[in-house]
């Protein structure tokens, strides 16, 4: 595989693993609040799991630190989401979007598990850029507008700046890894 193909192919391959519904390519499904809560919890849990993989495998100290922040932040959000669901008496309900996210995550993990060293670092950061962009788009275009409960909507709204900051951080690291090649 040529360098150009590697540069273009891998991000496209990883981006294709992010579900179409999060990229706004499919019509937005009609989700209940319990389903929105499940999507949010699933999306956070997926990034925590991938962060744990990166913590043990990343070569770059900056990438390992980023992975640790992903674990800490997305765990903190899920703790809040669980507390809110308990307070509201809402049981997060599994749904097609959550299933699609999990299927995508399994594919991304399988791709990343085959990689080592700097190749892993680059692929992980590319995945994090694509994933956080997709989650940000989903918050704006699907999750926040769909939610009817004001407290759940407020939680999703207050999470948005963190996702945007993660995206900027991931883009900066992705660029730094590219520049150091």
């Amino acid at each position: 595989m040529s360098t150009t193909t590697r540069r273009l192919g891998l991000p496209l391959l990883l981006f294709s693993l992010v579900p179409g519904v999060l990229r706004g390519q499919s019509p937005p499904p009609d989700l209940t609040d319990a389903e929105v809560a499940h999507v949010a919890v699933t999306a956070n849990a997926i990034d925590v799991a991938l962060g744990r993989l990166a913590q043990g495998r990343a070569q770059s100290a900056d990438v390992r630190r980023f992975a640790t922040t992903m674990i800490t932040d997305h765990s903190a959000v899920n703790t809040q989401a669980a507390a809110l669901a308990g307070r509201l008496g809402v049981k997060p309900t599994d749904n097609a979007v959550s299933q699609s996210l999990l299927q995508d995550a399994a594919g991304a993990r399988a791709t990343l598990e085959r990689l080592r060293g700097s190749a892993f670092d680059r692929a992980y950061m590319q995945r994090e850029v694509a994933y956080h962009q997709a989650v940000l788009d989903a918050l704006d275009g699907l999750l926040i507008p769909t939610t009817s409960n004001s407290e759940l909507r407020q939680l999703l709204t207050s999470v948005r700046p963190a996702i945007a900051a993660h995206l900027d951080h991931a883009k900066a690291l992705e660029k730094a890894l590219g520049d150091s090649r």
């Binding site: 932040d73 903190a76 700046p161 963190a162 900051a165 900027d168 900066a172």
Partner: protein
Amino acid sequence: MIPCSSRPARAMTWTRWPALGAILLLGAGQQFGGTPPPRRHVIEIGGMAFRPTSLVVAPGDTVVWINRDLVPHTATAEAARGWDTGVLAQERSGRVVVGRPGEVKYLCALHPGMRGTLIIRSPRSPSPEARPHDP
């Protein structure tokens, strides 16, 4: 001769003088333009930003950072071996007593895009607006 029984009372009187003197000096200092007492400033962390982003303080003042975000943050001086509040979970706070005049840039060690500045200025040093214009 001083009766023994008066000694404790006398001793108490003397121990009070320094405190009284300090209060008088502090009052006089404030009245005649001396150093004001240290102040406490609060910077809130919310929406992945320090608010205010830039703050003017004086040497000896205390700056308190309160994390209102869902996710943990730090306030960490950029300079090597600088101060660090440590990790602040939601609704936790950390404080720093500021040192010599100058400009201290700081960031959140967990989210490097979050940055702030403390402008440490001696109370007697004129602000840029108050400085006379160059001829």
